[in-house]
Symmetry: C2
Subunit: 374 residues, 2 copies
């Protein structure tokens, strides 16, 4: 992997030190070009090119599936991560007294759909973090035979703690509970293998570690649940025979037997092609290569600051390191004026290291943080 | 209105005769440029520019609201029309034995969410068209005191029949039923005024008569329903205090008191700005001017073919005229090879006339249809 060559392909890196993929990533030039080409074609040809669009959509679906070791039948495109999580909240046939397990570290989108279930009599158990970590023993204690669902982010947005989904899935299976994960802060930085992890559902979107556009999310549902689980939202994309617009007023319908039944209607085709282009680049480089580099760089952040709020154990983190700070908003604002991009989250400075970052980027950041101190 | 000047602003018209806005419209150059500029900025700056993005979002929301005479508090952005319709299916507190009224002319997305309600014991009444029209007296007969919702497309996708929402809303009010409309085949071609029409909800998207991108939809909910109706899907955009990411694991939450509570998470900001640009152009020209021109041109189609399946009454149509034909797919395919764009729908050739079309466009089409005959 030739880092400087890769950096040349990312226009933003000419003008900024970008350590903020946990917020929004920069684009590869190829990703940008792909999306622009689509928009131009529509502007110039202006026709409803459904066949090539659907072909592109299916190619993107296959690229997503390969990237997470799923079947393309198990992937549905959605607007964002939130839609996938809410879908899970709706498709489980909850009974009063059922419980679900989540944690106190989750981003609002991975809390709101579950707390909303309390209206249906579902008990929400929130595993409390211990110094920023969710302990397997605490998760185990929270799961019992009333538990229908465990939903935990793969990597926590605030402090970057990565949970062991494989071990958690074993606990779930013992109690016949489903396991759902918001994987947005992991996918693209560290490998995701739905088979190995044993998860039932995931939700994510493309604009963070995958370096794709905002407005494209995707949802995984394990094949064995497809038949029993009915989509909360239905549209023309849900139909088996979805290319046939000549059935107005339809009463009896046949839904797709794939995850496409969870899709609704028109999509941002222009943007979905951009995601595919990014995935191609990631696959070319290799996810293991990317993971090693991401973890080496996040280790470098931990080693070079004195207040990391992120586990130093490589198994318990991905690309996020949170540096505790009394005034994170102020520092982040000052750094931004120097074109060093990081975010303020949870009483600290959240630093994201992607595989194309360098130790110099981190040195510049540390210099900026230390300069602010003085 | 100088038509040739306007046509110069739409790149596609250099190479095709576009009579297909009921499928997918061409773009104004300005709309394309707006979206490209956003993507470029993100590629170059690569930062999470939440403040300017949200400002752009709110400006777009206001532009949408002005365009339909709503308040911006009554508008939620969604992926597509389908999401809005499904939202309505979920937010009404159905009781077993309740009924809803729709028609046999609807596009699948405006049938599936309702037929799905049959699982909850809701009775779906499908008003049957009479020679392509839905008669007010038939709609009146279908509504009774069990009726909670009437959902009819403003303009039907197949034959272009436009219903009188104002009169239907009066019938609804007599029985305390809500009125929902899929307005995608009307908005942009003919005026929509939610106050005058008295509708409770509408769903639509931007890529047909509004000449915006695929992947941007929006939903209207009348202000008086905002408090009682709870969103089926919740995300960080649903929160009153949605710019604050520092509340992990939140239990007690305060939702927005506007329609924003129906939004979920990340959006395609790149595309939403494109919609706004289109709306600016439409508003500049004026919706009444546009309507007159659209209706004059669709009249010209009716007058110049011998098998229009669309009412000739100007009050009962918008920009769609369907020409009955024994082999619509074949003709549409042959026309496409001549760069004349129309669609095959419901045993006919669906012709869409927008305000920038000309009588010459229609002459070319008729020539093409007649040539195929021979």
């Amino acid at each position: 992997m030739n880092i400087s060559r890769i950096r040349e392909r990312i226009p933003a890196l000419k003008t900024c030190t970008h350590l903020d993929c946990a917020a929004v990533s920069p684009f590869f030039q190829d990703t940008l070009t792909e999306m622009e080409t689509f928009l131009h074609k529509r502007a110039e040809k202006a026709s409803f090119d459904l066949d090539p669009w659907l072909q592109m959509l299916e190619e993107s679906r296959q690229a997503v599936a390969r990237f997470v070791n799923a079947s393309s039948d198990e992937i549905a495109f959605m607007l964002n991560t939130t839609e996938g999580l809410n879908t899970v909240a709706h498709i489980i046939p909850w009974k009063k007294g059922d419980s679900m397990v989540t944690s106190d570290l989750e981003f609002p989108s991975n809390s709101l759909p579950w707390f909303n279930l309390q209206n249906k009599g579902v008990v929400v158990r929130q595993v409390q973090n211990v110094e920023g970590e969710l302990l397997l023993e605490d998760i185990e204690k929270a799961i019992d035979d009333t538990t229908r669902l465990v939903s935990l982010s793969f990597v926590q947005f605030g402090n970057g703690f990565k949970c062991d989904l494989k071990e958690i899935s074993k606990l779930c299976k013992e109690h016949n509970a489903f396991l759902c994960s918001d994987i947005i802060q992991g996918l693209g930085a560290v490998p995701v293998d739905v088979q190995e992890m044993g998860i039932d559902f995931f939700a994510t979107a493309s604009y963070k570690w995958l370096m794709g556009p905002l407005g494209v999310g995707f949802f995984f549902i394990r094949k064995e649940h497809l038949e029993e689980m009915e989509p909360p939202y239905l549209g023309w994309f849900s139909l088996r025979d979805y290319e046939n617009f000549n059935r107005p007023g339809l009463n009896e319908v046949e839904l797709s037997d794939t995850a496409r039944k969870f899709e609704t209607g028109g999509k941002s085709f222009a943007l979905i092609g951009g995601l595919k282009k990014s995935l191609d680049i990631f696959s070319e480089i290799g996810v293991e290569t990317i993971e090693k580099r991401v973890l080496d760089l996040s280790q470098y952040v931990i080693d070079n600051c004195d207040a990391a709020q992120t586990p130093s154990d490589r198994k318990k983190r991905a690309g996020i390191v949170n540096i505790k700070h009394p005034k994170p908003e102020k520092v982040v604002e000052a750094l931004r004026k120097q074109n060093i991009l990081v975010s303020a989250r949870m009483n600290g400075i959240r630093v994201s290291t992607h595989f194309w970052n360098t130790e110099e980027d981190i040195d510049d950041l540390m210099h900026g943080i230390n300069a602010w101190k003085k």
